[in-house]
Point group: C2
Chain length 266, copies 2
Amino acid sequence: MGRTLTYPKRDANTVHRYKHRATYDLDAIHSIINASQVLHVSFSPGPSDPFPAILPMIGQMGSFDYPSAGLDEPLDCYLHGYVSSRIMNLARSSEGDGLPICIAASKVDGLILSLTPNSHSFNYRSAILHGYAKLVTDEAEKLWAMKLITNSIVPERWENTRVPPDNAEMSSTVILKVKVVDGSGKIRDGGVSDERKDKTNEDVTSRVWTGVVPVYEVFGDPVPSPENKVSKVPDHITTYIAGMNKQNREYAENAVGVTLPVEEQH
Amino acid sequence: MGRTLTYPKRDANTVHRYKHRATYDLDAIHSIINASQVLHVSFSPGPSDPFPAILPMIGQMGSFDYPSAGLDEPLDCYLHGYVSSRIMNLARSSEGDGLPICIAASKVDGLILSLTPNSHSFNYRSAILHGYAKLVTDEAEKLWAMKLITNSIVPERWENTRVPPDNAEMSSTVILKVKVVDGSGKIRDGGVSDERKDKTNEDVTSRVWTGVVPVYEVFGDPVPSPENKVSKVPDHITTYIAGMNKQNREYAENAVGVTLPVEEQH
């Protein structure tokens, strides 16, 4: 469509440090959020508690009104939780737009081992979203979001389990819908970056190894439960595992981006 | 010493959901924090912003006054950052005890694939700390914390780089020291847990595969930088990679904890 949607830069989400690594693209930010198995959700517990709270939650970006929307389009963030948890109670009793929250996801892709401690770093992808959280009350939207979130663990898992949820399951589950106000992402890839003063110091370069250690997540062989009655691990699981193992490893290795100088390629 | 130190249970850190998975042990909580490459640190940006902020940071538990203290003893959390970042400015200008923050770390160890979407889960370890953050002003303590944090990326890395940091490096780096007020952890391990109504439903058990997919982080082969002059990857790196790859995989596989019933072992 020849356009790239970005989140507005406001005080709260503007990156000031290493600006060249910052992104405000919806596509990049939503991709990082959706690839995270666990999101950290921060909220203020109330005036009597000086500390912000952080809760690990499962969530996913999506649009109930426009289910075919791509990751580069405006989306809501749906978070899954238990009916009586503190964040759900706060969201339930919040007035106006909803409970103000911050959502964060980070993934390390490599260790950057350089000449000095200060130039050490990670290859990484991180994203944050700010938004207002409200409970989903429409049953059709709630069911749609539960399917979206279940299938983020393993695609097509919903269809391959006992569905739909019964009344008890529906009422013990609460889905938060977060209307996103702004967001930002930060992506670091590439190799080692050292300062000239160290790179030209032979005493340093002769004894300090520099390079990148790729870091990636691996899904191991599925272990059937003692009560499992299905002899073969289904395709929707094996296909996902194989695809993710390939994709995760390739991302971390490609992020290194080291191209040997011409004279060293022979 | 025959004692187990635990954090006090206060409103802010008491786990109400799946209480049997909760831990307040210093050892367990500090271990999860220290094993995390990235910590999510939440703080309130001030009265003009309704949203809490979350920043990905590198940090480590330690005690400058009692450097030999174990993970099961009271420790401070040291966080590494840039001199002009927002959290550092807020901590610098905070009065009294310091800036109230929340620190979170989570790690997924497995996918729990069960009969119904509601009984799906992760094996995971997560920890949160609440505390007051202040800038480290003592030069000896700052240097000590920088070494602690560098060596959390790869043990002995500090000694194998160009140290000590020069004046410019010392002044661009800021270390936050967090006096911990409380903390809690949550650990889920084991296999699939389904309800009786589904386990006894042959129509369900005959078509839904159940089990656990172990999830663990892998360090790939080190990729030397084009400017690296040290021919062999040093032992402090190869030893760490080999050890972590073994440990991470074993943790995820052991977390499954599936013991086949006696009649199925033959």
